[in-house]
Amino acid sequence: MTTTKPAPAEEALSDNRAKGKKRKIKTIRVPEHTVEVVSDSGEGAQKCGQIFGQVSAMMGNGTWTVEIIPAEIQPPPRTPPSASGNRIRLGTKSVSNWGDGADLVVAFNEQVLLHRHRLEGLKEGCTILIDSQWESHEDEDIRKQYAEAVEEMSGHNYRYVPFPLEEQSATIVENPKKGKNMFALGVLSWIYSRDLDRTRDLIARSFKKKAKEITEANVALLDAGFKWADENLDFKVEVPTEPSSVPRVVMNGNQAIGFGAIAAGMDLCSMYPITPATSASHHLGEIFQKFGGIVHQAEDEIAAIGVAVGASFAGKVAFTITSGPGLALKTEFIGLAVMTEVPLVIVDVQRGGPSTGLPTKIEQGDLLASIYGQPGDAPHVVMAPATMEECFLCMTTARRIAEAFRVPVMVLTDANLATGVQPFPRPDLKAEWQATPPDLSAVPEGTRAYEWDPQLGTSQRLIPGMPGGMHIATGLSHDENSKIGYSPDVHERGCQMRARKMAVFQQTLRQPEVHGAASGDLLLVGWGSTWGAIEEAVDRARAEGLAVSSLQLRFLSPMEPGLKEIFSRFKRVMTVEINYSDDPSDPFITDENRRRGQLCWLLRAQTLVDVDCWTRVPGEPLKPGQIYQAIRSHMPNGDKA
């Protein structure tokens, strides 16, 4: 712990060294490290963490970032609910999830730190850089709160490193509340030896819409923080990087969705603002027009999908992006797109529900609503990417499936993927990923609107502009000519054809790969962004000799084949999901009335295997340590290996 008074700001680094004040600096070399930056809402810890994460990824570290989001728009400062920030997990190798506890925290005050402590966000022995002003504050109440907080957090071997965050920031800017985040970034940059040029570039990019002086002030703060750390801290952390054999890019999942849509050749994103989906359209709004693409902000969620349906019907496959409440409003149009066989891509960035729920926080609660939300039988495709890279790539896949099978395709991401930043191999873009302009050649007079192949259920799409293809698409039950059907067999046949093409599509899917041994005591099944945490937990348990494996589903409807056969090789099968299920040991909960995880319901129905579930709805991603504990407690023979 260092208590050295900060050197005067004007004293240059070289002078310091020249005067022989060089301290002994201990460098901790680790394969991975988890950092948190946490401040009051509005003090900018999120931006600090985002830039730190991005620079780390650019320098070649594996990274995964997760936003820590305050409970309210403007919560009172110096209170636990005000905690806002970012967790950045750094690794030498690729990082697939946010990990368990933080190894190092930069806390702007002790109350936001306390919040993270109470949520078990900090590892035993965690290093805590905390603004030194509170401990010795002139206000007695604040000193008391500080002492109480430290008392509450005692017994965890936390190592406190007070640092003059606000005091030093105030020497550079008039209002240190807006700026100390960059001082903190400078301190972190020194500890982790981050590339300052890249950091300065990212600061400039992040303030590009503001006056030049703002960027300059923020860069000055960064430099001051770096300098202060260099003169005062006695430890550094080194997370070595390994050179990557392939070029990589780094971005969050919403950016990846936007880029993926462009790579897929789509040129209309029709949306209505909703958290946490909106940032995808912010990103697209900046760049889409270069590609001839439009972000259409519709008057409401319903119109947003309506415009996308219109564009798709007219031959230009569009996509819409939303989150739970918006998905509920879009339901009728999704059914219509199924009925009229209009290709369409619908991205649902899931958040906590029901109702307004947890607007900024993660949940995997929309699975059943996505598949079964539409009245009647409305077969369509539901898929779920597990990483930022998959967010990028799945958009091309989704568009192609939509066009080949004349069907809406839903892509379920979540708040974790949307805001988390991860590096991944740079996609090798291909022209064939893109939609081709619709071929409007004439079709023979009398060509039927739904010339269903009786084996496949598929049919050629007739697009306005094609001579001879005139027909009226209708949401009413219809025959091959799109004529409204009045006989019972017309409806039966239409349902059968729309279902059949999905069965055919399912036959094109591959059996999922099992992570770990092909058979064993326990198989975990997950979907979406839980992939990395589940595999890490499985690896930990396997290293201890437990016979546990996992698999992650990307296609939820129709589902990837061969599951029953895989399940038969394990004594027990359990889903791991971020949605609600009853704890079987709770009062009144029986096997009959237990609410289960959403994938769990599907797997039970699909395979008739007695699939169990372990689910949580904390409004944050699952931690590998939690899943590891769940594995231990669900081993069929107790937790013995």
Partner: protein
């Protein structure tokens, strides 16, 4: 007509030498009740299609749900018969990505002014170049006689058997109140030439042509315009060289008001109820921006897009 505006189509249909008769635009046999105003609108539209010789494959009729929304089925063009209240977003999507197509939206009064009201207001503001027909019979007919926002006060229906509780909504003044209203007209099913001229002028208008067609429902609102049909004194024609001009009709309906459709304030004042039914063009302004043009961008080939996207990805490179 040759469309030059379409960036999408390398294959725009060559100017063809087809001559299309009204029969060439006929779809299924119309199944509306005899005496329904929808028949008159369908005939007027078929006349327009023939008169303009619109290529059926380049014409799209989008509708919602209701009696009037069966309209596209009775034409031989492309059509999209979608959801209750949601014709306009679909039509906007078609026009936005395919400005080369002729787009018509057909709605009923419940469709447009009730469940679809948000889309009605906002589509006026988007001002896409299309014709929107609001077939207003003042009642929900398909679902058997429920009150609509335009049902006259006191009109008994199955949902308000002791008479409609509220004053009816005025769709014309509502439309005229929205930013970017560019063509606002009212006509009736019993004046076929006026109906035709109103739709034809709306089709030629560059922007969102909102046309309210007053009509009876022979089942439920027979009395609504009965007096107006019988008694010419109930009608007042708005006349102007730039308006809807049907000289023969001006002989039948002696009440005229000279109204320049460029005058929005006067149009708004004429839209207010005053005891007579006003037919004609309340407002027209072709200088307002059309959404599909506002949002039009140069298109790129797949290779160009890859190059551009790689340049973007460079900014995210590790």
């Amino acid at each position: 007509m040759i469309d030059t505006s379409c960036s999408l189509l390398g294959c725009s249909v060559d100017e063809d030498d087809r001559y299309l008769s009204m029969a060439d635009y006929e779809g299924a046999v119309a199944r509306w009740c005899s005496g329904c105003g929808d028949h008159a609108v369908l005939t007027a539209v078929q006349r327009l299609l023939e008169g303009e010789q619109l290529a059926p494959e380049k014409t799209v009729f989008v509708s919602g749900i209701g009696c009037s929304s069966r309209f596209p089925h009775y034409l031989k063009t492309y059509g999209f018969h979608g959801l209750h209240g949601r014709a306009l977003p679909v039509a906007t999507g078609v026009k936005l990505r395919r400005p080369d197509l002729h787009v018509f939206a057909v709605m009923g009064d419940g469709d447009c002014t009730s469940i679809g009201a948000a889309h009605w207001i906002h589509t006026i503001r988007y001002n896409p170049n299309m014709v929107a027909l609001m077939l207003d019979n003042g009642v929900y007919g398909l679902t058997k006689n429920q009150t609509s926002p335009t049902s006259p006060q006191g009109f008994p229906s199955n949902t308000q058997p002791f008479g409609a509780h509220l004053m009816p909504m005025n769709p014309i003044s509502t439309t005229l109140g929205v930013t970017n209203a560019s063509y606002v007209a009212q006509t009736g099913d019993w004046v076929p030439d006026h109906l035709y001229e109103t739709i034809a002028k709306g089709f030629r208008h560059k922007g969102f042509a909102f046309i309210r067609v007053l009509q009876r429902c022979p089942q439920y609102t027979t009395a609504v315009f009965e007096e107006a049909v019988r008694n010419p004194d109930m009608i007042e024609l708005m006349v102007h060289p730039d308006g809807i001009n049907v000289p023969e009709l001006e002989q039948v309906y002696k009440n005229h008001v000279y109204h320049d459709p460029a005058d929005l304030d006067a149009g708004r004042s004429l839209a207010e109820p005053h005891g007579k039914i006003r037919l004609g063009l309340f407002y027209q302004n072709e200088s307002l921006p059309r959404y599909e043009e506002v949002r039009q961008l140069p298109s790129h080939t797949a290779e160009e897009k890859i190059e551009l996207l790689n340049a973007e990805l460079d900014r995210y490179a590790v």
